[in-house]
Amino acid sequence: MSVRLTLTLLICSAIVGALVWTSGVTPINDLVWVGPDIFTLDPQKLSYQQDIRMEMALDETLVVREGVTAEPIPGAAREWEISADGREYRFRLRPDGKWSNGESVTAEDFRMAWMRAMLPDTAADYSGLFFVIDGARDFFFWREAQLAAFAANGGGDAQALWQQTLTRFDETVGVTAVDSLTLLVRLIQPTPFWLDQCGFAVTSPVHRATIERFSSLDARTGRYETDASWTKPGNRVSNGPYRLAAWRYKRDLLLEANEFYWNRESVQAKRVLMLPFEENNTAVLAYGAGGIDWIADVTVDYRADMAAQQRAGLRTDTHVLDAFGTDFFQFNCRPRLADGRVNPFSDRHVRRAFALAVNKQALVTQVTRMNESIAGALTPPGSIKGYTPPAGLPYDLTRAREELTTAGWSDHDGDGLVEDSAGNRFPVVDVLYTTGAVRYKNLALALREMWASALGVEVSLRSKDTKFFKEDLRTGNFMIARGGWYGDYGDPTTYLEFCRSTDGNNDRRYNDPAFDALLDQAAAERDPARRFALLQQAESKLVEEDLPLIPLCNFVQVYMYEPESLTGLTAHPRLEQYLGRVHRRDKSEPRDSSVSVTDSPEGAHQ
């Protein structure tokens, strides 16, 4: 008996102790929202949407893409000039720009940040984005080669190499701090979307002194390494609406209004708490119980039913918004399959036949049941000002069968299945999707039905876990696979470049010199209207002639919030919410705030 007693006492005292140890305080917050877990608060290492959103609450980029149009407006830069050849940008920072520690924001802070992004030492996802800057690409690979040589020699004078690197950056890279408030940027070629990119979170400045305080040179590898603790509360200095007050791993993240921010008057919610609930169902339950103002991404399986209730007027808190991304299924365009067989989908007639046989409207109303806007092209319509994406192919079964016949496949023996002229049946179509995502399982099942009945082919489905799925994509072990792409910046090239034959994300190995040539022509074109016309031509080729992929529909994101009590969210498809604008609604405040989701001209489909 004494054993049990001792054990019980031990366990009880341990629990009480641990509860006291792990418990926290419950403060009063002006805005509480649930979003996906934050990966990093290092602006140059960002990649995920939730990190980008948090970064935009902490720091301010040169320009800000705010409001319904997402047009760049002055941010950390008060004004800018673009040279006549479109290659030189002179940004003048605002003199009242301040860091959260009270120090002034300088051109050097931007230069430091951008250099970090161009250093292989940082291992930044978006290094490539800076390669449009004169000398940036060469600088990156020069440093990488130097580091490789340094490590191969078993070390050396890391400090000397670092000095050499700084000098080289000064001399060869087109980012110059002319004076403390003027930043001069020189590009390799005119890049119409560069200004838009200067509003992308990855271009945020860093507080130079902080970075230098936390950085050191690794004696063995020669790398410039910044201790990750610089992004932690107390260390992290920011120049935007908020400062980082608390951050606990996968538990919560607290922002407090930055009292030194030049535009502090515009910041509505002074204390903003983010809870990264991983299980979305728990978040929805917690929202129902009260205390949560906004769920930024509702992913529960029953969200289609919630959206249906919203449409029927049975609830008011579920909002389906178009996101800046397109869902598609993609074809393997390689001449041969991974197992050596001839790939029927290397023929664009076959790809067109499969695309024409897809009833997209049925997919969004009966399969995903989210009523997404169906997509004919890759670029979401209305998401980029001045650009009209092509219409794409219609749902046309007669034309689909004709295309297949043109490709040499028709039903000669009347068994309902198509054969080539030698009588060989069309290979069983291998459709690959990811395990665990109900959406893609359902889509794949529906597509199998559509293709089998319309075209007379046999279709088999294969699901794989994400890592293995990606491996199959890379090695070309598929005929048709699920896809999907989100845009990074406000230009059609964000959707077209990944189809270029040499692009690292061209899993389809679609290779058409004419398409690449159109992209090159557009890159060299100075007139914006003619440039968009060339890009539209390229996109038409993609979605109306060559079909390396079948665009299905716009991606959507589901927000949960009560429009009566929360305002300040934008419905622009990029869904880059500026947290400083989001706040609980004062009852006296009119509902038609220009950036409110429900009332915006682009409108959320309710």
Binding site: A14, A18, A124, D125, A286, A289
Partner: protein, 317 residues
Amino acid sequence: MSAFILRRLLQLPLIVLIVYTTTFVLIWLVPGNPLEKEGRRPPPEVEAAMLRQYKLDDPVAFYFDYLGKVSGVAWVVGSHTRAFDFGPSLGHPDWSVNEILATGLPVSMTLGMGAIAIALAIGMTSGLVAGLRPGSAADALSQLVALAGISLPGFVTGTILLILFSAKLHWFPIGGWGGLSHAILPMIALSLPFSAYIARLIRFGMIEQMETAHVRTALAKGLSRRQAAYRHALKNAFLPVLSYLGPATAVAMTGSFVIEKVFAVPGLGRHFVDGVLGKDITLVMGVVLTYSTIMVLLNLLVDVLYRWVDPRIEAAY
């Protein structure tokens, strides 16, 4: 006894090394790049530079370099500034694995020990009630509940508890961690399969023990059935529970990721699953090595307790 403990402690590094090697090989065999994000890849040259930066281009170098840092050998020989350094998490570069372990482990341990305490209370009570009156209605009920407790997966019982007691009755907050009110529901949800198992062990033990010679002797000497049960039968019936408690505590502390997910509890189990899915090598190694050390130590503790409770084992050695 002390020689036994010493011998077991000396085995610990060997066991952990085997676990390290096995985990390392398995996680390395998973295809894909831990630095790759959902949906897109950086340009190939940038990707190659990133892999080199984290030494992910060379498994052998990574294995030994990391082993040195993790074991503290690198610290002892002076080539690294910290002992037992698991390095930065590959998926969450702002956090070191040590930081993640330091915040997640106390949460998981609290949750696990709380669950085991509740499981002991529920399991012992219902096991005794059932075991003393086998075949009665109370026995049938307890058996039925135990069956449900073992069969129902955590995400079902957890969600039911959450909907009933938090969403409908508002007795407890939903999700998060920060006090007793947050801890009770996940602890109960986590305790259910363990209480069911303990109940069955006790029930079976009691039925068996009540038929043994020494209990019958005690009854014959005039002890009441209740006195005989508590003084004589329960001691022996508890032994299987004791040996079950070691692995059970370890499992409760380490295998609670489903419950942690349902209740949004920031414990280690969740981080482990995320680590595996994201091929976050350093995080997975950190969690696995910590867990295996705990597992070995808990098993050792149970073995020591067992010897203390049941002298026959020491004698047999």
